[in-house]
Amino acid sequence: MDTKAGLQVIDDVRSVIADALKIPVERLTPGTRLDELGAESLDVIEIVFGLEEKFDISIPFQANDATRVTIGDKSGSKDMEFSTVGDVANIVQQLVAAKAAR
């Protein structure tokens, strides 16, 4: 994914999160943790839903293990952190790239 498209993804991720949490987008930096923003379990799954709708992807997020997401493809699977805004953007970028490659 080129840098410009990557930046667009981060912007979109920030706006989806801000929208779900009803907070100004300026409060979101890549290092901001979702729990610092007061996101409770239902807020997190609303964010996941918003991102899936926005990017037409499926995020294999489980409330049972809410701090990471396991992303798999043919070459294997990897655990990715799901704690900060930057973590979420990484996961989305990965899934968007995987979708484009298909």
Binding site: E40, S41, L42, I45, V48, F49, S58, F61, Q62, A63, N64, D65
Partner: protein
């Protein structure tokens, strides 16, 4: 105040719909969870559930009647008939006029709603079936039980999501105890394994894709189920006078609301309901031998429920046997509390503690005795059955040996 006993049990469940089969499956930890086959699965990410597979409505209802009953009502009526038969209850006109019928269900006629909306929005149908509303209404199951058995006393539905069945039986217990009804038929029913409902649950991200492992460190979430259980409650005096079978005595009922989160369990609220039930039963925590837990198999519930048990039972939690039936029954929402109350009554009756199925590994956050995988013969004097619903609504029953 009357002493109140359970004289009849009727179930429709994923592990059998005869009382003996239901009990032996619980004791042997034979799970009713399997691949979904009663609805199309191509649009589902989660394709397992605890379904009632051996249920043929045509065996129980003539074709004209059957068209009036959504699956959740069919389950309730069949379970109610079985409970009345089990209790050897003769419904005379005098009894019929005063018997209370209280049924809990969380979702109503979801199969009817799903089918009807699919036709309207998916297939551009121009009209709905004329029986849509009578089939889907929340009180349909309760009303059809009363119609089927000719019961004409106080009759209503309780909807409190996953605590519905427990609230219904608790309410019926209080009415018989206070003399408002000499007999009550109470329980819960649910049949909401539809594509629409499962998609909704998938979005909550709490469903397991393999199986339900309550209290095990390796648990991966809950598994939806369906079914119904109905019990006959009556005064002990009346039951003894007519020589009825007695499974267990109803001793106490406790309720609370968390007034906190819409989905997450609150150990304080859950513990308050347990303490209220013990107080109502006049049973000390150390005199409870067995708890049939809510135990859904989600990370949050099982940890929170363990904390609640410790809070309510204090030091005696160490000696308590706790098991969840959801590894075999799945989570049948509004029916769950009633099926689990039936399991608890049968545990007292057989003096056997049914195990927690699919238990693999101890979790440091769940550090009680969960009776893993193997049933235990142990003297049970008093037992508890707990339900903690979405919306923070808690209902707990305490039973004693008959």
């Amino acid at each position: 105040m009357n002493r109140v006993v359970i004289t009849g049990i009727g179930v429709v469940s994923p592990i059998g719909s005869a009382r003996e089969k239901f009990w032996s499956s619980l004791v042997e930890a034979r799970s009713g969870i399997g691949p979904i086959s009663i609805i199309p699965t191509e649009r589902l990410a989660v394709r397992i559930a605890a379904q009632v597979l051996d249920f043929d409505p045509a065996k129980h209802f003539d074709p004209k009647r059957q068209s009036l009953l959504d699956r959740f009502s069919q389950f309730a009526v069949v379970a109610a008939r079985a409970a009345v038969q089990d209790a050897q209850l003769d419904i005379t006109e005098e009894i019929a006029l005063r018997t209370a019928t209280i049924v809990g269900n969380g979702a109503g006629g979801m199969n009817t709603i799903d089918d009807s909306y699919f036709r309207l929005y998916g297939q551009d149908a121009t009209r709905a079936h004329p029986l849509s509303i009578p089939r889907l209404m929340m009180n349909a199951a309760c009303s059809l039980v009363s119609m089927d058995l000719g019961l004409k006393g106080p009759t209503f539905t309780i909807a409190s999501a996953c605590a519905s069945g427990t609230h219904a039986i608790g309410q019926a217990f209080q009415m018989v105890r206070m003399g408002q009804a000499p007999v009550a038929l109470a329980g819960g029913t649910e049949a909401c394994l539809t594509v629409g409902t499962i998609k909704g649950w998938e979005a909550l991200r709490v469903l397991s894709t393999d199986t339900c492992r309550p209290f095990s460190r390796t648990r991966t979430g809950l598994v939806l189920g369906e079914g119904a259980a109905m019990v006959v409650l009556e005064s002990r005096e009346r039951a003894v006078a007519r020589g009825a079978p007695i499974y267990a005595e109803m001793l106490g009922f406790g309720m609370s609301a968390d007034a906190n989160d819409i989905t997450a369990i609150d150990p304080d609220g859950a513990a308050r309901a347990m303490r209220a039930a013990l107080l109502d039963a006049k049973v000390n925590p150390e005199d409870v031998d067995y708890v049939n837990a809510h135990g859904t198999g989600t990370a949050l519930n099982d940890k929170g429920e363990t904390a609640a048990l410790r809070k309510a039972f204090g030091a005696s939690a160490e000696y308590l046997a706790v098991s969840s039936s959801k590894g075999v029954l799945g989570h049948s929402l509004g029916a769950a509390g009633a099926l689990e109350l039936a399991a608890t009554a049968l545990a007292l009756h057989h003096q056997t503690i049914p195990p927690t199925a699919n238990f693999e590994e101890t979790d440091p956050d769940c550090d009680l005795d969960y009776v893993p995988n193997t049933a235990r013969n142990a003297p049970i004097q008093n037992a508890m059955s707990s339900s903690f619903a979405f919306g923070g609504l808690n209902a707990v029953l305490v039973l004693g040996r008959a």
